[in-house]
Amino acid sequence: MRKNEQAKVILHEDCGPGYRLLVLDAPQVAADARPGQFVHVKVPALEASALRRPFSIFNAEDGRLEILYKAVGRGTFALNGVRPGETVEVLGPLGRGFPETCRGTPLLVGGGYGVAPLYFLARRLLQTPKLPNPQTPKLFLGGRTKTDLLALDRFAALGVEVFAATNDGSFGTKGFAVVPLDAELARLRAAGADFELFTCGPDGLLKAVSERAVSLGAPGWISVDRHMVCGVGACYACIQRTVTGNARCCVDGPVFKAEELAW
């Protein structure tokens, strides 16, 4: 059940230039959170009538809710000023998330802050006990430069193998995350192994991953980022085109199946 919860800030720390980790004590929202879902946050320092800002659930564990975000504008810069002990209002969990099961190897593909929902997903996939062929997820992570590759330590702690790519070549492969992804896809197909694709990031990445999922006939789970107002399906601001017409990213998504999307 979605709740509008007054959550106390436990921790708010830098994680690279422009990025912050916000940890909230939000037992009600955290209890029902699933990977790929998001929360709609009221930013305390903005005027009381300001719209909320949507953020993926980076992690939900033991009543804590973690958000990994990048300061890009008025709201996110204002959010930077929130201190431990202060209260933030969070509405969630919202939207349709990723499936928590996978046939074969889960291939997670993230770009920039799009890595956020993939960590929670990786954790849950590893916890799901009774899969036919349980496989450790692999992460393909892209960013402009080394410092845009977030949460590498957290994935390492889960035992997830990370294939990094940076546009400037400062870490991992030079280029986009699909470069190491394509190499892995070729390996898996040569071995006749099953896999599913899970992705979140900029539209260019989402398109590239969707195309691969559709052309290879593998399930592709695509998390789309659209400007939102209400976050609950009431305003029709957050439209994503699909093969069956306009869908609302906040309730019909943010996670869509690759073959549903019309770009």
């Binding site: 979605r2 005027e47 719209l51 400007h227 609950v232 305003c235 029709y236 017409g245």
Partner: protein, 302 residues
């Protein structure tokens, strides 16, 4: 105990607080987040004869004091509304439902109203949407055209009929008269105000539709003025909306002449606004010794 129920042109509202069209989906989206017991009516998102895709993205821009939107009236057609959306609403809510309708022609307005029959508690005509070139704009900008379309819908429905007027007119009075003459039961005021936002770095309009409609906190004094003008010109009851964020805002609109108020954009930020407005009106009536919320309507001293 303050008497909170009101009669809005034949629509019996258990409380004077409604939701504004386009800000509350089809009435089911906020279940569990908004306290429906505090609502006197739910106004559904605009519908026409056939489904309508709306505008391209981006459809909104936040500004200080409000929101500029160009959703473009994306909505279900009347058939899907009757077969799916409305039954879904009835399973979760006993609050009276106002259908908000629009169309590309006088005939279409009348056909939608006729098709709705007595399945909804009231009909609100959107003749003032600034977003759709073929739609609302023209009907709400000419008193003669307005008369024609309201008269046609009047013939098509026996339900309480509200007409939602455009705020961007030199004087609201001729439009109020046209509604009265055409047989409307009530007025809704105000719709969004035409507006535009420009991204100065990219030197392009922020909205894909280039322009949109302003709602939210900043439009509230405009709404108060128009409700005041309209109330002085007519005996028709008024459902007032425009920047209601707290009870004080709603009480201003009631004192200006409204019979009931609607909460719109505020709910996006805080789904608790509906209940806070309701409870704040009760507290105000108690504090000032009003036995009934209707005592507030147009009750300006001087």
């Amino acid at each position: 105990m303050v008497k909170m129920d009101v009669n809005l042109g034949g629509l019996r509202m258990p409380t004077p607080v409604a939701t504004a069209s386009g800000t509350f989906g089809y009435g089911t989206e906020y279940v569990g987040l908004v306290d429906y017991a505090k609502l006197g009516a739910v106004t559904a998102k605009g519908i026409r004869l056939d489904p309508w895709p709306g505008n391209p993205m981006p459809r909104h821009a936040e500004v200080v004091g409000g929101l500029v939107n160009a959703i473009g009236l994306q909505g279900t057609g009347v058939e899907a509304f009757l077969s799916k959306t409305l039954p879904a609403y009835r399973t979760v809510s006993k609050v009276p439902l106002i259908a908000n309708i629009w169309g590309g022609s006088v005939e279409e307005y009348a056909a939608v109203a006729a098709r709705l029959g007595d399945r909804v508690e009231a009909i609100e005509m959107n003749v003032s949407c600034p977003n759709v070139k073929a739609g609302g704009h023209t009907f709400g900008q000419d008193p003669n055209v307005l008369f024609e379309v309201v008269a046609a819908v009047r013939k098509a429905t026996a339900r309480p009929l509200l007409v939602k007027l455009a705020p961007n007119v030199p004087s609201i009075v001729p439009y109020v008269k046209a509604c009265e003459d055409a047989g409307a039961d009530a007025l809704s005021l105000i719709n969004t105000i035409p507006a535009m936002v420009i991204d100065i770095e990219r030197r392009v309009p922020v909205l894909a539709n280039r322009t949109g409609g302003l709602s939210g906190r900043g439009v509230h004094p405009v709404a108060v003025k128009l409700v005041y003008d309209a109330h002085r010109a007519t005996k028709l009851p008024i459902l007032a909306m425009g920047g209601v964020y707290e009870a004080k805002d709603a009480i201003e609109l009631l004192l200006a002449g409204a019979t009931a108020v609607a909460v719109g954009t505020a709910t996006f930020t805080d789904p608790g606004v509906v209940a806070a407005v309701h409870d704040g009106i009760v507290a105000y009536c108690e504090r000032h010794g009003f036995a009934s919320v209707s005592d507030l309507t147009g009750n300006l001293q001087g």
